[in-house]
Symmetry: C2
Subunit: 117 residues, 2 copies
């Protein structure tokens, strides 16, 4: 199998892993610092088992890793640049969204891309 086929398949896998709104938000939550499951679950308003499942998927694909401290499991991005890369993808949705304006996208971009809280 030619290498570009293999690479396309692997790239497709990465896209598939990221292709879920919850997981995108999780990655953006972890942009600046590690967080534990409960903090993430509360932040996103999701049941923690679900967050846990998303995180183990992300972990299986080496997007995040885990550090345990007592009963808390802290997750962090292995390559934090992935959060920027995802935000770069916003260029390709501007102008084609019903229900959200371009200035809203800019606001989210700022929110996710900034170092400030």
């Amino acid at each position: 199998m030619p290498s570009r086929t293999i690479v396309a398949k692997e790239l497709g896998d990465i896209f598939k892993i990221i292709a879920h709104p919850d997981r995108i938000r999780l990655i953006e939550e972890l942009r600046k610092e590690e967080k534990d499951v409960n903090t993430l679950a509360e932040g996103l308003g999701l049941p923690s088992p679900r967050v846990s499942q998303h995180l183990s998927l992300l972990r299986a694909h080496r997007i995040v890793d885990e550090r345990r401290d007592g009963r808390h499991h802290y997750y962090y991005l292995i390559q934090p640049e992935i959060a920027d890369w995802i935000v770069d993808g916003l260029s390709f949705i501007e102008g084609k969204m019903a229900g959200i304006s371009s200035s809203n996208i800019k606001a989210v971009r700022r929110l996710w891309a900034s170092d400030a809280p």
Copy 2:
């Protein structure tokens, strides 16, 4: 619904659309110039109905558009930068692939990212 939720959903959709090896290869094939369905199908070694289906999905999400000339339908990238963005994603698969080395990825990156044929 907060705007970051909406934006995450839209972003997720874009990722989902791209998250298929055939579609990734199609986008990279269109990087430099428009091509018709048959050319693409032969280039990728896929049945043309399948290529046609992928292309109409990409078109529905405004990633490509179509120009008809006689019985040929030429497809092209609406925002060619998307091909570069996808290639940027290679950073996140290096080092975690069984069956392909980092130098292979560099070769594919060159192949896809270059202007030369």
